[in-house]
Amino acid sequence: MIKTDHLCKRYQSVIAVEDITFQVRPGEVLGFLGPNGAGKTTTMRMLAGFVTPTSGRASIFGHDVQSEPLAARQSLGYLPEGAPSYGEMRVHAFLAFIADLRGLEGARKRARLHHVIERLQLASVLDRPIEALSKGFRRRVGLAQAMIHDPPALILDEPTDGLDPNQKHEVRTLINEMAREKIIVISTHILEEVDAVCTRAIIIARGRIVADDTPLQLAARSRYYNAVSLQLETAEQLAEARAAVEALPSVAQVEVSERDARLTALPRAGASILQAISDLSRSRGLKLKELHLESGRLDEVFRTITA
């Protein structure tokens, strides 16, 4: 289990992190969200033992990060922000170096090296100096380095930043596979990622936790939660459709996008409007291209909470 207890970090006048408390259990994938400068990286650095908290404590599987640093680090795999690595080293030598420092030896070392090289598709760049790699490959080397000792807990600061869509998918699959028995904490600015991999999301703003919930529950806070979105064949029926939908008693508000002939109806609190709108479009003879129920928009919740 990863625990933080009232973590604070102050840099001279700047308060980077102020009073962060949470716990993560094996099987959880925790996503850190928050605007730039919110304190995500600082929090992760305190978990990894790189930054000393001004006050508060953090522990990894019961080992206090400050008082038992080695024990805490042993069970942790860490990808620092920007995936730093020794640029002049070749990929294979670098991974072997990290494996050595992680205490891997002999057959197990070979097996783990083989595993991460395969999983992160690094075989083609093994003999290249890291500084000569593209950003995405460098990130993948950083990920390989973090998971080489098969740690029970992983802290990954923006693991998919700079990856192409295929690689993003690969890394998300990888995280989902490891998720069952591990603790994984990631930070990200990509909100789909939260839906794709996280079982829980913590939103941080100005160094404080402003939301801590499952992605579904967070999205449910959106005013688009249970909204109905319908797209018409042609824009001509848009005005008529709008008037009709607005007249429904359970509809609170209607938003219209002329460009794609789309109309989004927001329900009054707790109301369910899908059936009513579906009936209405049939009786009015609206030519529908698409009709669906929204589960809430995370980006909108994010903006509302962190504004």
Partner: protein, 244 residues
């Protein structure tokens, strides 16, 4: 100790992965020989020994060693790899020692490559090889002392240029600690005990006493303690502000 070895090996390999190592060795050899032959009147003295060769080492090291040590920690900070290293299950002192020993071994290699000059004097006459061996050891210790100071300066900053300048200044002060230039700066206001203590810290006095051919325990101890002190300071400096 295993970790010290692993870090040492990686560091040493990284020297040779870039032109840095070759340039350093080249400049070291060129300057060492140039000083000896042009400034030291190697041939004209008509004596078969390496006195002029070793006499220039402190001045050679004064600039070359900080140039080598400036990258030790400043570069790790700049590139962010310090975050990687310090979050691995490695103790800070292991990293400090590993990186330091790699740099020292490397200077040792550069020093060893001056062997042709030793062959030359043996060819030209009958030098006292005991004195030469002691002088080589003294020179190695001197380089080790400079490197430890440089390691500490490098741990204080993320800028290699700043680390270099701090390194040169600190080494210069320690080199001449027993000489009027430094002593005068303390004379008058500092208590006499302190002035005496500073004077006894001089690199140059201890180095010269070794190059006379007697490897005295107190000189070796002096370098050992100085190195230990600066490596300890490096460790503390890193622990206190590794992320800043």
């Amino acid at each position: 100790m295993r970790n010290v070895g692993l870090i040492l090996r990686r560091e040493l390999a990284s020297y040779f992965a870039t032109p840095l190592a070759y340039i350093f060795i080249f400049i070291f050899l060129v300057l060492a020989n140039a000083f000896t032959f042009y400034l030291g009147d190697f041939y004209q003295r008509g004596q078969a020994d390496l006195k002029p060769f070793f006499a220039f080492h402190p001045w050679l090291y004064l600039f070359l060693i900080p140039a080598l040590s400036m990258r030790l920690w400043a570069e790790e900070r700049k590139s962010g790899t310090i975050e990687l290293l310090m979050t691995l299950p490695v103790k800070t002192w292991e990293a400090v020692l590993g990186k330091y020993l790699a740099a020292w071994l490397f200077t040792g290699l550069a020093l060893a490559l001056t062997f042709p000059i030793w062959i030359t004097v043996n060819y030209l006459g009958n030098p006292d090889n005991g004195v030469i061996l002691a002088s080589y050891l003294g020179s190695l210790l001197l380089a080790g002392g400079f490197l430890a100071v440089g390691s500490c300066m490098s741990a204080l900053t993320r800028s290699q240029v700043v680390a270099f300048i701090l390194g040169v200044v600190a080494c210069f002060v320690l080199l001449l600690a027993g000489y009027p230039l430094v002593i005068d700066a303390f004379q008058g206001w500092a208590p006499q005990v302190l002035v005496k203590a500073i004077a006894s810290l001089s690199f140059l006095t201890h180095f010269q006493s070794i190059t006379r051919g007697v490897l005295e325990a107190r000189d070796v101890l002096y370098f050992a303690m100085l190195i230990a002190f600066f490596l300890f300071t490096t460790t503390v400096a890193l622990d206190l502000r590794k992320a800043e």
